[in-house]
């Protein structure tokens, strides 16, 4: 029983850690897509954030400057996306693909030019990373059976950015559903012409949505390289931006549901390594590749309308022309 509890706690703990960048990127995706801009450049923003965070943290020794840099880099990518597909009404998917290419190329080129380590950044010392935080009353809570363990092992002891990511979900939800900006943002994704005729600038609204998304992706990138990891490695985003996009769809473009999708995908990822060479009852051994493909398979099945009906923003992907 105790063993099972620890196993579960361990899996959930790992889930949270894997799901953190997914949550942040998914929120970014929701903001962008709810405003009507397809965002497959999440991957590229995540990657550039990760590189800049690690590079600045290693050059200056400051995690905070690293985080700021990551946010700036990611927002810059967002602005480029906006410049191409809002200002110049270019194809949003093409622009996203371009940004992903630029990110893969630039991070490695700049990495080699600055650090001369084949595209990696130097390993950061513990002072240059976000360290795990011990929450209040951990020791006091230890006296309570089970809850004390859960509090110590699962809830406490993560880096600041994990808590930031968890906070981002209610914040995103609040902005989208309770603020004037959120109302307009949702409206511009459904019917930009209505927003325009109400005298609100479609362009500026969509730019703001992309900037908010850039901030989220930047934090996610910093998490990858200066919190979860201790340096930048080439292509370290490894498709997480696309999984986050899948989570956005899975969550039907709603923050809380996307949050659960991220946790589910994170959980799948976390238990994959555990399930290797394990015979499950009835099923037998599950190939690790099948496990890693599951998020995509589930998203495809969901998108095909076999489980419920996805309802994307109606104006998504269509450039707005006055």
């Amino acid at each position: 029983m105790i063993d099972f509890l620890f196993q579960t706690l361990w899996a959930l703990d790992a889930t949270l850690r894997v799901a953190t960048p997914l949550m942040l990127c998914a929120m970014a995706g929701i903001f962008s897509e709810r405003s009507g801009i397809v965002d497959i450049s999440l991957e590229g923003k995540l990657l550039s954030g990760a590189f800049v965070a690690a590079a600045i943290a290693s050059l200056t020794g400051s995690v905070w400057l690293g985080l700021m840099g990551a946010i700036c880099a990611s927002v810059l990518m967002s602005l480029l996306h906006g410049f191409a597909c809002i200002t110049h009404r270019g194809d949003q998917v093409v622009s996203g693909v371009a940004i992903n290419f630029l990110a893969s190329g630039l991070t490695v080129i700049l990495g080699i030019a600055i650090f001369k380590r084949g595209g990696q950044t130097p390993t950061l010392s513990s002072g240059e990373r976000f360290r795990p935080i011990e929450l209040w009353f951990v020791d006091a809570m230890d006296n309570i059976p089970i809850i004390g363990v859960i509090y110590r092992e699962l809830i406490s002891g993560h880096s600041l950015l994990v808590y930031v990511a968890l906070l981002c979900v209610p914040i995103a939800s609040f902005i989208l559903y309770k603020s004037r900006f959120g109302l307009r943002l949702r409206a511009v994704g459904e019917s930009p012409i209505a927003v325009d005729s109400a005298g609100v600038s479609v362009t500026w609204l969509r730019y703001r949505a992309l900037i908010v998304g850039g901030v989220f992706c930047g934090i996610a990138g910093a998490y990858l390289s200066i919190s979860h990891g201790a340096n930048f490695v080439r292509e370290m985003s490894a498709g997480k931006g696309y999984i986050a996009l899948a989570a956005v769809i899975f969550g039907n473009w709603r923050p809380v549901r996307a949050f659960w999708a991220c946790l589910m995908f994170g959980f799948l990822d976390a238990i994959t390594s555990r399930l290797q060479d394990v015979d499950l009852p009835l099923i037998g051994e599950v190939p690790a590749q099948l496990m890693s493909a599951l998020p995509y398979i589930m998203t495809i099945i969901l998108l095909s309308g076999f489980i419920g009906r996805p309802s994307p923003p109606s104006a998504i992907g269509v450039p707005y022309k006055k």
Binding site: A84, S95, A98, N100, L102, K116, S292, Y296
Partner: protein
């Protein structure tokens, strides 16, 4: 303001976009402390001058023609097939299957033809599903083809590291395909006629690629199906009203697109590696997007865009040897810039250019 003259729209504007892309890359090279001009010279030499380099360039060109055609076919129906990478990857399964089934008892020429057909068929099947899902269930091909790339990658890792792994091998790769299914390299082929050229991976699939360009041209502009594909791309409602079965065309277009992508496996598996290896697609499928955008979905454009990217890939490899701080990763940046300026920002210079042309016309140099 009148629109741009045709030649400016077809040649001048894409040329300006391309130059802008290279210019921005040049700035990046300059910023990291190297001479962009030198880098360009090294790339050109590496792509065309050194012995065998032209062969390598054309070998890459072959890949890009296939993936470029895949993307372009879908573009004509206004579909965005990002899945070329995955379709090409699983295309190799068709070849392995065909060699296992037919190689033991059929003469080489039939084996080769069946292999080519099977690689196209498996690539087509991989694209059929996203096409079907878009046409019948309303899920967007952009998302589904991205997902299918990941699925293809997982599937191939599983197969190449498991059931298909070469016996006694640790690295994930299949057995060698039988000799009857291997395509002759151009070098061997030309030596039959007494012509000796430097060794390179260029093989007879280059001929297949040129043939594919021709097939594409006939299909899109000379057949009823091509007309229907373009009609669906221009306006689905109008096409529907004209009696074209739109969902059928969407499915067929995606299938053809996947077939072109699947042919990439012919070059890599039958022509060069002679086996399926891990990640042999190496991003060629994504480069196809840049190729189609630059080539404006026309076979002639696609050929030259493929040649450009072939030269970039081959010349980019040369950067590794000649420079301290720029590597072949430069090619990723160039690709990104080309997709950005020739794709997403394709019409950025349009207003400025129109103004210039109108100015000319006002001054009495009216020639249309």
């Amino acid at each position: 303001m009148r629109p741009l003259p045709r030649w400016a729209d077809l040649i001048l504007l894409p040329f300006i976009n391309l130059c802008t892309a290279f210019f921005v890359c040049g700035i990046v090279v300059y910023v990291i402390g190297e001479n962009p001009w030198e880098a360009l010279k090294v790339m050109l030499k590496g792509a065309f001058i050194y012995p065998g380099s032209l062969g390598y360039t054309l070998y890459y060109t072959t890949n890009f023609i296939f993936t470029g055609l895949a993307v372009a076919t879908a573009f004509h129906a206004k579909l965005f097939n990002i899945g070329g990478e995955g379709q090409a990857y699983v295309g190799s399964l068709g070849i392995l299957l065909a060699t296992a089934m037919f190689a033991p008892f059929l003469p080489a020429i039939f084996v080769v033809i069946l292999c080519i057909i099977c690689s196209a068929a498996v690539g087509a099947a991989w694209a059929y599903i996203p096409g079907y899902l878009q046409a019948k269930r309303g899920s967007h091909v952009v998302i589904t083809t991205i997902m299918f790339n990941f699925l293809a990658s997982s599937l191939m890792v599983y197969l190449l590291a498991g059931p298909l792994i070469q016996l006694g091998q640790q690295s994930p790769q299949s057995d060698l395909i039988p000799e009857s299914a291997q395509l002759a390299s151009i070098e061997t082929f030309l030596s039959l006629f007494g012509i000796n050229i430097a060794s390179s991976p260029l093989n007879l699939s280059f001929v297949l690629a040129i043939f594919a360009l021709f097939v594409f041209w006939v299909l899109i502009w000379k057949t009823r199906l091509g007309y229907e594909i373009r009609a669906v791309g221009k306006n689905q409602d109008a096409a529907n009203y004209a009696g074209i079965n739109v969902s059928r065309i969407i499915i067929i277009t995606m299938t053809i697109s996947g077939a072109f992508a699947g042919l990439l496996a012919v070059n890599e598996v039958m022509g060069v590696q002679h086996r399926a290896i891990l990640n042999f697609t190496a991003g060629y499928g994504f480069t196809g997007i840049a190729v189609a955008l630059m080539g404006r979905n026309h076979p002639v454009g696609i050929f030259f865009a493929s040649l450009l990217f072939g030269a970039l890939f081959q010349g980019g490899a040369e950067l590794d040897f000649e420079f301290q701080s720029i590597t072949r990763d430069m090619v990723l940046l160039i690709q990104g810039m080309i997709i950005l300026f020739s794709g997403a920002l394709a019409y950025m210079f349009n207003p400025a250019l129109s103004k210039i042309f109108n100015q000319f016309n006002k001054n009495g140099v009216d020639n249309d």
